[in-house]
Amino acid sequence: MTDPRFFVDSWDPAYGASFEAAGGGPAAPSSAQVDADAELPAVDWRAIGPRAGVRAPDVVLLVDGVRRIDASVWTAEDDGTSFPGLAASYAAGVVRCDLERGAAQLAGARVGRGLFTASPSAADVVAGSVRYPVHRVSGTGELNKLPAAVQGPLTALEVEVSGAARTDGDLLVVDGPLRNRRQLPRTLGYIKTQHSQYLDARLTTVVTGLAAGERSPVFKLGTAWGGWSWYLRLPVALGAPWAGIVRMECSAELGIDEAVGLADLSLVTLPRFASTPYKDPRAPQNLIPIAGLERRLRSLLGDARLLHRVLTAAARARR
């Protein structure tokens, strides 16, 4: 028997590590270096409203990806040891919102699957028409480190689908930080949950004091993936200080003027996509097109119970 053996954890993978980050405001202060004087001197920081004459682009592309652990597996090595692994499905898609025509379409979607493990002997899992190629994780590959490994292929997939849907004059909004997508033109990163507190207490009060449809001045983050960044508040019934606040970022390679231009553009574009609380528990930050896209992508992932069953059957077949 050449196929390496593996076992599927009978526990529902949902009991394992969660991908969903907790909401609320930023928990920990960040050590990142912040240049707050880019647009306005830090002493002059104030809320900025929509700039007159700035129009939302006709076409807005929104990119998002979803991932799901279909099963946790354990490999059986020849020497009797065992490595944990994750059989995960992930999908990336792009919604093309043609605001002029009033049509939001799925402009492209790709589904990938993978078996993420550090096991040196693991091979692709093929179960019927479903294939989980091996993504070998470096290091010891503990179970709680594996979910982060899914992000890499997913981001690559997102870049792939978003590149295919671009047209001139559009605006690409990427769900999450830009990371390695900074070279894409007219692209905004959209960070809906605030984990780190980048600004000092005085500037933070400017952010928490934003009215709906206002933004903070553009500042520069000095982290490895850093770039121009600003906060804006989506339409929301005023409540908690961080309610409806999202952080936007764009490529650090742009000049400050271009960054400010994108910031103004985001202020006239994004509020109309804000979702309503009774429809979406993550409202208003979880934008309507993104929510719709995630639903579509999740349905493209396939039925979780079915895939779990298929994996279990495949594991049994190798025994």
Binding site: C97, L99, A104, K279, R295
Partner: protein
Amino acid sequence: MTDDGIDGPGEVVGRVLGTADATPLQFWTAVSPGSYLQLDDVVVTRRELPDREPVTIAGVVTHVRARHEGAQFDSDVFAIADGTLPAQVQEAAEVTTTRVDPELYVPPSPGAVVHRAEGDARARALHFDRMERRIPMGMGRDGVPVYLNADFLDGSRGAHVSISGISGVATKTSFATFLLYSVFRSGVLGGDAVNAKALIFNVKGEDLLFLDHPNTRLDDATRASYAKLGLVAGAFPDVRVYAPPRVGDSSGTPDVSSRLTGVDSFYWTLSEFCADRLLPYVFADADDERQQYTMVVHSVAAHLARHAQPADGGVSIDGVRLGSYADLVDHVVEQLNDDETRSDWAGSAVGLGTVNAFARRLIGSKKDLSRLIRGDLATRRPHSINTAESAQVTVVDLHNLPDRAQRFVVGVTLKSEFERKEKSGTAKPLLFVVLDELNKYAPREGSSPIKEVLLDIAERGRSLGVILVGAQQTASEVERRIVTNSAIRVVGRLDPAEASRPEYGFLPPAQRQRALLAKPGTMFVNQPDIPVPLCLEFPFPAWATRVSEAGRAPSETLRSLTQSVDPFAVVGSGGGTSDDDIPF
């Protein structure tokens, strides 16, 4: 489209859904983008089986729906229309199976390709290929003819038609006459069509009096649709119209106002009334039938048959000459009131109250029936309705008659026709009887002589070649045995309350809903061959349905005019008759 119809029955319109149960008798089809399916479209799909030939499943679309996939809330439609929420419009159609071939009842597999059935595949799906004789009934929604199996009309395997629908909108009579036209002119009955007869009772207006007049509103489009059905658009060639005599007119001229030529009057002479025992038909009220006095009716009828002697148009009873129906009634009542003669007429065991109940009703009938039962007209003059000696289509005009007289005419005419067919003993030639307002003549409750005749026709008419084409607003009010004996059930626009009654159980729920909206000319026809009623539109009548549409009268009619006219009047008018100047 290939000849075998399986490999390429028509364009691909979608695939069988997997999110709803697919069953052998009903399944859902997702419609491919860029295609559409409408109600009544015929589709076909195929199921491969491991050890035998594939099963072809054909059906009719009974429901279609479109929805936004990806929307969760009703208000999401605004976000979708606004261009912020991605969603997909997906149409799906419910298909009710009409045919499984070979008969192996397996469900179609989800994902199987569904084709629109065209040509032979459509004919197979609707069982038209199994019909040896097909009578065109009209066009389906797809603009292709739909057929009626003649076997279920002419009595070979079934007979009788029941047409229901709201008055005025449902076009029941028009459909009945179109069906007759199709039967007579499509050549389906072969040689029998020549001798087949139709007896039509005209109950409302003078609508049916112009069957032999071409319709002036007939246009090329209508002609083309007749041609598509294999028919020639035209009027009925051979029609004879009967109307009752005018009230108070001693010469017995027919009581019609719009049609002035080629109408004969019909009546019964007093001697026929007595000899044929027509008295019970005077008392055709269903409710009254439960009364005691029916004994008296039959006993008086027997007495009249025994003792009445024909006497120069009228009758003579016990030496008294009676010259009119009123005289007859008066004489009978007088005899019944006389203690000495009462027992001769009414029998001995009848109470005075019963006799009086009979007398009261008999007197009440004088006004209605005296124009129909005559003692003052020449006996040799043709006056009876006899389809065997009449034209192919005999129209009996009842619309001027009061209710009681209508029942009398229908009851007596049907009785004599049915008895004549009974005597002849063969089913051919066929006799089609078109009767509107069947609920009046054969109501669900009670019994009456007319209802007995109609029941007889419904139950035995099939073997005797009498085909009842009954129309009514509400099938639920018609005697159940008549409705159940009808092989073919037709529904036009229905009243909402009526549509929910069990009499329309043959309509699937979606069609029941649609019957509430059916526009004039749209009918749902259920025939035993096909498990789903077919929705069809029949073409505009090629014959006149009212005087304003009537074209030139056929020459036969004009000839009958000159023949029926009093020769002296022609001489007296000097310049002969013109169409406009009719001398009666």
